[in-house]
Every structure is written in structure tokens, then in C-alpha cells.
Amino acid sequence: MMPPPRFAAWMVSLFAPPEQAESILGDLEEEFLLLGPRSGLASARRWYWRQSVRTSAHLLRSGFRDAPWSTALAVLGGFFLLRLAHWLPGQLLNAVTDRYLMYWSNHFHAYLWVLKALIPTYLLGTFLTGCCVALVTKKREMIATMAMALVLLAMIFVGSLSAMIMTGDANYLRSLFWASSDPLAIVMGGMLVGRLRSKNTPLPAA
């Protein structure tokens, strides 16, 4: 018999609290193995995916309902940290560029360097912010980082849309694609911390 979909199991393990992850994944695998010979592998896989998505949504909702204030506080703190994480690298890079400007062949190269260096440092700062939010929200890493990512995404969307309406420049809407890398980096930070914390929960064998 084939093992259940690994990615679906991984998704459940991200959202499940450590004390529940073992029994939930065990229950899903047990039913999957019962369903396989009865209804076929494709149907069993579909069932497993459906259950995993609904289970993750339930765990996300109940996790937020159980601790709404601490989650909201972590998200708020995350936004302050994010502001710092975006402000500090720019200041540092500007200071370095200004100090060594005289050694550059021309100023254009210096500013190009700043621009190139800023994008990865911004993303790294966002990713680390996601890690910090996940670290302070023990057992609710994905709930807090998903909440923060959704709020940020909504802010970016509203900002881009209103800028486009006011200026009539469609480029603002196109920039949404790049801007959504920030919420993604926050969720990835949450995933990393969550996975490291629940590394004792084995996933189905490949």
C-alpha cells in the first residue's frame, strides 16, 4: 500500500499543536490505509487531502479562538519588528555607501549596489521577523504568522489599489506580485520554526 500524501501530512503537522500532531496524523494514516483497498488509491488520496485541508483550517481557527489576545499581540509586535527590519538595513547600507563613495568608479555603481543589496536584506529581515513572531507564539507559530501575513497582504492590496486609482498607473497593481513575497517570507519563517519544534513528529515514509 502506498503511503499517504507527504505534503498533506506535512501541512497538518505545521498547524497541529505538538501534543495533538501524533494522534491526528496517526488517525489520518489509519483511515487512509483502511480506505485504500476499499475505494482505490486515488479516492483514498483525495480523502486524505480533503481531510488535511479541513483539519488544517479547523486547527488554525481553533488555535486563534483559544488565544486571540496573545496572537494579536504577537502580530502587532511583529509589525513593529518588521518596520525596524526594513528600516535598519537601508540605514546601514546608506552609511556604508556614503563612507566608501569616494572609492567607487562612479556614483551610479554605488547606488546600484545599494539597490541590489536592499532587496535580499529586506526579504531576510521579513523572514527573520516571521521567525521571531513564531518563536514568541509557542505551539501557535503558523496561526500567528498566517494572521500577520494576511493582514500585511490586505494592507499591500489596499495600498496598491488606492495608489492605482489615485494615479491611474497600472504598475502599482503589477507590483503586487513582488510585494506578496513579504507575507510569504513571514509564513516561511513560521514554517521553519514550527517544523523545528515539531521535528519529533514523524511524517509518513516516502
Partner: protein
């Protein structure tokens, strides 16, 4: 939640499933019992979220079973209803009966 409170709809269903299953009550059997008797597909996440809430209220207790190979070496978590939980089921049931008493639901709303 105070001692005199009633169970929510899904909480009530989960508690009744636990009472029916007795010693055999764990995630898979509870989910299957609900599906079999109510005809609605419950997600394992909804069952666990409810069981977790009921355990916090002191209505159910859980214990860890032995790991089994058909579960990828993972242990089962068995649940049982406590005396406080059984009292909550009775209280909720009595409230329902009292509300339904004297109503002819089939004739009034069909």
C-alpha cells in the same frame, strides 16, 4: 465555562459518540461514528479541536495508547467521558427535551 452551562451542537454530538463507543473511543472511531449516525463528514481536525475544548472543561479525559504499525508507529489517544461530562450531556439533553415538549414538529413545519 461555568459548571451549569450547556454543550454546543457539535460538542453534544462528540460526547454522545464517546458514550456510545466507551473504551473504543479514539479519533478514527469517533469520526466514523459521527459520520455513520449523522451522515455528515466531520474532519478529524474538528473532532480533535472539540475534544481538546471538552478536555479543558473537564468533560472528557484522554490517555495515550500503544503505537501501532498501521498508524505509522504512532500512538492512539483514547478518550472517555468524566462524571462532570456525563452531567453536562444530561443537562443539555433535558433542556432539549423541555424545549421540544408539546411541539408537534412534523405537523407544524412539514
Amino acid at each position: 465555562m461555568a459548571d451549569g452551562d450547556y454543550l454546543g451542537e457539535f460538542e453534544h454530538i462528540v460526547m454522545l459518540a464517546l458514550l456510545r463507543l466507551a473504551e473504543r473511543a479514539y479519533g478514527v472511531t469517533v469520526r466514523q461514528e459521527i459520520e455513520l449516525r449523522t451522515g455528515r463528514e466531520a474532519s478529524i481536525g474538528a473532532v480533535y479541536a472539540t475534544l481538546d475544548r471538552l478536555e479543558k472543561k473537564g468533560y472528557v479525559k484522554s490517555r495515550r495508547g500503544d503505537p501501532t504499525p498501521e498508524r505509522g508507529g504512532r500512538a492512539k489517544r483514547f478518550f472517555r467521558v468524566t462524571a462532570k461530562g456525563a452531567a453536562a450531556v444530561n443537562r443539555t439533553h433535558r433542556a432539549f427535551e423541555s424545549m421540544v415538549e408539546g411541539l408537534d414538529l412534523i405537523r407544524s413545519y412539514s
